[in-house]
Symmetry: C2
DNA sequence: TATGCAGCCTGTAGCCACTACAGGGTCAAG
DNA sequence: CTTGACCCTGTAGTGGCTACAGGCTGCATA
């Protein structure tokens, strides 16, 4: 299959596929006489693996390790578990951060009465150093 | 105050302060005879505003608009409210996304029994197209 | 007076994970 | 024989910094 078909089959941008090849995440495929890339099922599976991993937020380097494990079924898979567990922790941290941030934004947004910028609580709150809570 | 003091006072990297000046977020300060940047309280307040906004996840362009409003107290502040509300929505969406992602990661991580990579459920799950749920 | 070192300056390049061209070649249909 | 979809390489841009390289200034100490 040509790059456009692979792109449609996996929902991956053509430029991204070439990018993955350039950084060594996908092996260089065979070429047609016209120098077009020619992919097979293995490439497709590998790209799906990469996309699914990216969708889950793994970094390229993490995916490189995971692919490496998947290429060597005889190795111990605890490394894969470690990567996934650490990533899960990071996601949980990020959620906690964003939740705190959402709370502060909600406090700020709720205060706008639609007057002039000079009296605006939103702008005022941003100028504060975060101690607006107990300040008045 | 010199750039190092401003850096300590606001918890902002020196390179970042110069970066903000370069992109026009902070006005160029006066210079000493030795060509050192010389900041005043106004600069400090503005930088605090920027840092606080960045901590809340506003983009540079959004901060530019917010600063513009804060520079013109006679304008209507509904624009500030609009920016903050939209940003809040984005944060909420992000949290929802990450929560879904966390759930999937938890499912994946919980399945590793520590065997060989060839039998690893983590790697297997990543290779799937996300239909692993009802598949077996 | 010499010397060392912290701090400042400019300018450029790197980070991540793409994305978007420019400028060209290839191929099948009409 | 032309049109238009598709493919190629190579380079530069995105956001928001961060990290140098290579050089200047200012102050304390020997």
């Amino acid at each position: 299959m040509k790059i456009g078909e692979l792109s449609r089959a996996t929902g991956t941008n053509i430029e991204t596929i070439r990018y993955y090849e350039r950084i060594g995440l996908l092996p260089p495929p065979a070429r047609t006489d016209a120098n077009y890339r020619s992919y097979d099922g293995g490439h497709r599976a590998r790209l799906s693996f990469v996309r699914h991993s990216r969708d889950l937020g793994f970094t390229i380097e993490e995916i490189r390790s995971l692919l490496d494990l998947s290429d060597h079924p005889d190795r111990d898979c605890s490394e894969a578990d470690r990567i996934a567990t650490r990533h899960l922790q990071q996601v949980e941290e990020k959620i906690a951060q964003l939740s705190a941030l959402r709370d502060e934004l909600q406090r700020i947004v709720g205060r706008c009465r639609g007057g002039l910028a000079g009296d605006c609580r939103v702008i005022e709150a941003l100028g504060d150093h975060g101690q607006c809570e107990g300040a008045h």
